[in-house]
C-alpha cells in the first residue's frame, strides 16, 4: 500500500476535492472521532450526489429534505443527523464527504 499525503486546511477540509475517496473519508471521519457505519455512508453518498447535481454543498434544510426523499421520514430530522455527525451535521458531512464548506457555514 502506498502512502499518500492529503492536504487539509486548518479546519480539516480537503484542499483538493479530487483527493476524496472512501479511504480518505474514513480518515477524515476518524480525525473527528467518528467511525463510519452504513448509516454514515448512505448520508455521505447522498450529499455527494447532491453536490454533483447542484454544485452546492447542502445546508441543513435541503439536507433534511433530501434525506426525507431518499432515505425515509424516520431519518429526516436533525436529531438523527446529529447523532451521526455531531455538532453541525451539514458542515461535518461536507467535510467528510469531500465537499466545499457550505457557504453559510464559512
Amino acid at each position: 500500500m502506498t502512502r499518500v499525503t492529503i492536504q487539509l486546511d486548518k479546519d480539516g477540509f480537503l484542499v483538493h476535492l479530487t483527493d476524496w475517496n472512501e479511504v480518505t473519508a474514513a480518515e477524515l471521519a476518524a480525525a473527528q472521532n467518528i467511525e463510519l457505519t452504513e448509516a454514515h455512508w448512505e448520508l455521505i453518498h447522498l450529499v455527494r450526489r447532491f453536490y454533483s447535481q447542484f454544485e452546492v454543498s447542502p445546508a441543513m434544510r435541503p439536507l433534511v429534505k433530501q434525506v426525507r426523499e431518499q432515505l425515509g421520514e424516520d431519518k429526516a430530522n436533525s436529531i438523527y443527523l446529529m447523532q451521526l455527525f455531531p455538532g453541525s451535521p451539514a458542515k461535518l458531512l461536507a467535510k467528510i464527504a469531500g465537499l466545499p464548506r457550505p457557504t453559510n457555514c464559512l
Partner: protein, 182 residues
C-alpha cells in the same frame, strides 16, 4: 422623533410614508406610489408624519473600478443627515475590496477607505465584509490568514468579516435594504 417644520431645511429630501405602518406587511404593502421623494421649503409642513427608518446597505462594486462604494457612502451620509439610521453596511462581491488596508489612492483622488472609516466611527456604523467573497479576493483578517496559512492579513480593523447570514439578517431587521451594484 418626528420632524418639526423648522427642521425641514436640514432635511431637504426624505422618504415620506403615507401608510400608517413604516414597514410594509403582507397585507398592506407599500406600493411605489406611497413613497415620494419630497422636497419642501422651510416652514412648509408635511401632510403626513415622518418616522425614523432603519436602513441596511449592500455594496457590491469594486471601489477602484465602479462608483458603487462611493455612491453608498454618499447615500449613507444623506441617510444619517436625514435623521434615519443605518443598521449595517454589508460589502459583497467586489465591494469587499474596500476593506483592504493596503490601498494607496493617489493624492488627488478621494481616500474612500479613510472616509468610510471616519464616517463609521462617527456614527457607530457596523461595517461588514462577506467572508466568502473576501477570501476569494485576498481580503483576509488575521483569523482567516492563519486558517489558510497566507502571508499577510489585510482587513482594516474597522471591518468585521462575517457570513452571508448577516446580509439576510440585516435585510429582515431593517425598513429598507438598498443595494449599490457594481
Amino acid at each position: 422623533m418626528i420632524a418639526s417644520p423648522g427642521g425641514v431645511a436640514e432635511w431637504p429630501k426624505a422618504l415620506v410614508l403615507k401608510t400608517s405602518e413604516g414597514r410594509p406587511s403582507e397585507s398592506s404593502n407599500l406600493s411605489p406610489s406611497a413613497i415620494s421623494m419630497q422636497s419642501s421649503p422651510p416652514g412648509v409642513s408635511y401632510d403626513c408624519y415622518r418616522r425614523i427608518m432603519m436602513f441596511c446597505l449592500n455594496v457590491h462594486g469594486d471601489p477602484a473600478s465602479s462608483q458603487s462604494v462611493h455612491s453608498a457612502l454618499q447615500f449613507a451620509k444623506a441617510t444619517v443627515a436625514s435623521g434615519h439610521e443605518i443598521y449595517r453596511v454589508f460589502f459583497y462581491h467586489d465591494g469587499v475590496r474596500i476593506a483592504d488596508c493596503n490601498q494607496v489612492p493617489p493624492q488627488d483622488e478621494s481616500n474612500l477607505l479613510q472616509q468610510w472609516i471616519e464616517f463609521a466611527e462617527e456614527h457607530s456604523l457596523e461595517l461588514t465584509v462577506c467572508i466568502a467573497a473576501a477570501l476569494k479576493r485576498g481580503v483576509l483578517n488575521e483569523d482567516e490568514r492563519a486558517r489558510y496559512e497566507r502571508v499577510a492579513a489585510n482587513v482594516y480593523p474597522a471591518f468585521s468579516v462575517v457570513g452571508l447570514g448577516q446580509q439576510i439578517e440585516a435585510a429582515i431587521s431593517c425598513d429598507r435594504t438598498i443595494t449599490f451594484p457594481g
